[in-house]
Symmetry: C2
Subunit: 212 residues, 2 copies
């Protein structure tokens, strides 16, 4: 195996380091976050850090990089309190990835890509049309991360839209059936196949005997 | 599309709700976190919330559920300051998933599964033998999440071990080549195929003209 120490990593070229550290955490979620500013400018941007925080209440978090450069997503969701999370599927990965380009705040990525905005149920922020899963989110709280000036944003699920055939009777959403992709590193997109689902795990019987 | 509102979700059976909300965020990382208590008891547990927070310094976060029940991983990493992150590959998914069973603190999951602990470079916490990527982590800080009493733990990368053939010249780790899996929901494990990598994105030229 190749061994890299903290010192080795610090001494690498910064492109090498961002590729390495972005891919060392494992697979990531592949989402488009949709927002609209108070004065009506739409924004959509790719994020790979959406993480489950809890089911009751239903809470999801995501990480924003430092606000030293303008972050339209952050500005809009702070102004309005709302955003959407939309799942990236195989047929839009190239367009979705292009939303990482730094456009000014008054240029909507919806006009620069084939992605289309969609409004429903009077929700303020735009969804991304045709995504197999679309989630309406309300901003709840944020945590500035001291170690590197990123921000963890926590939001609550207001509405979920799911393509009918993806939702199982027990609430499980089959992402592979929806051709939802997963992100490897900064720029790798991977297709998936569900191998198996496992039951709720209980200790093997002899364990409790041993420890008592 | 099926529409579920916050109220619909709140009214569902709790198993339905945890399946739904755990799978609605998208694909998750599939990791085993290894720790050892001050008095020498090893622990290993499956986590699906390891998230990239930054590359310089190299920081990864993960989420722990409330500490109202004993969490061995949390207790050990707080006591000792160290833990390991090990990637779950296809041949160990069943054993890895079994580490979610609640064993008492003096019963090591290493003795209850085929997973083997491995020590190297005098690092205090155990790695999981044969994992294609193994990361030595140092606890840095934590954030109690008010909205639901979970804890975000932030750690810094001390050492990374990577199977030789997975590491590209530009620092990208090819997780699919290592048969690293990704988690769908609470209990679904999926195999992956890398579709493509994309270049760093810049705005399309006409955008800047429009906004100036």
């Amino acid at each position: 195996m190749i061994k890299l120490t903290a010192k080795d990593i610090a001494n690498k070229h910064h492109i090498y380091r961002i590729n390495l550290i972005n891919s060392c955490s494992g697979y990531k979620s592949a989402n488009l976050i949709g927002t609209k500013s108070e004065d009506g400018f739409e924004n959509v941007a790719v994020f790979s850090s959406v993480t489950h925080f809890g089911s009751n209440p239903p809470l999801l978090g995501f990480v924003l990089r430092p606000t030293t450069v303008l972050r339209n997503t952050y500005k809009n969701l702070k102004e309005t309190g709302f955003y959407t999370i939309n799942h990236i599927h195989e047929s839009i990965i190239s367009e979705a990835h292009h939303t990482s380009a730094k456009y000014p705040g008054d240029v909507s990525e919806f006009t620069k890509t084939c992605l289309e905005s969609e409004y429903k149920s009077d929700f303020y922020a735009p969804f991304v049309n045709n995504c197999p899963i679309q989630i309406a989110m309300k901003y709840e709280e944020e945590y500035p991360i001291k170690a590197n000036d990123t921000i963890l944003v926590i939001g609550s699920v207001q509405e979920i839209y799911i393509k009918d055939e993806l939702l199982s009777n027990d609430g499980f959403i089959d992402l592979a059936k929806g051709k939802v992709v997963t992100i490897n590193g900064l720029d790798g997109y991977a297709a998936t196949n569900l191998i198996d689902r496992f039951e709720y795990q209980r200790p093997k019987k002899d364990a409790l005997k041993e420890s008592s």
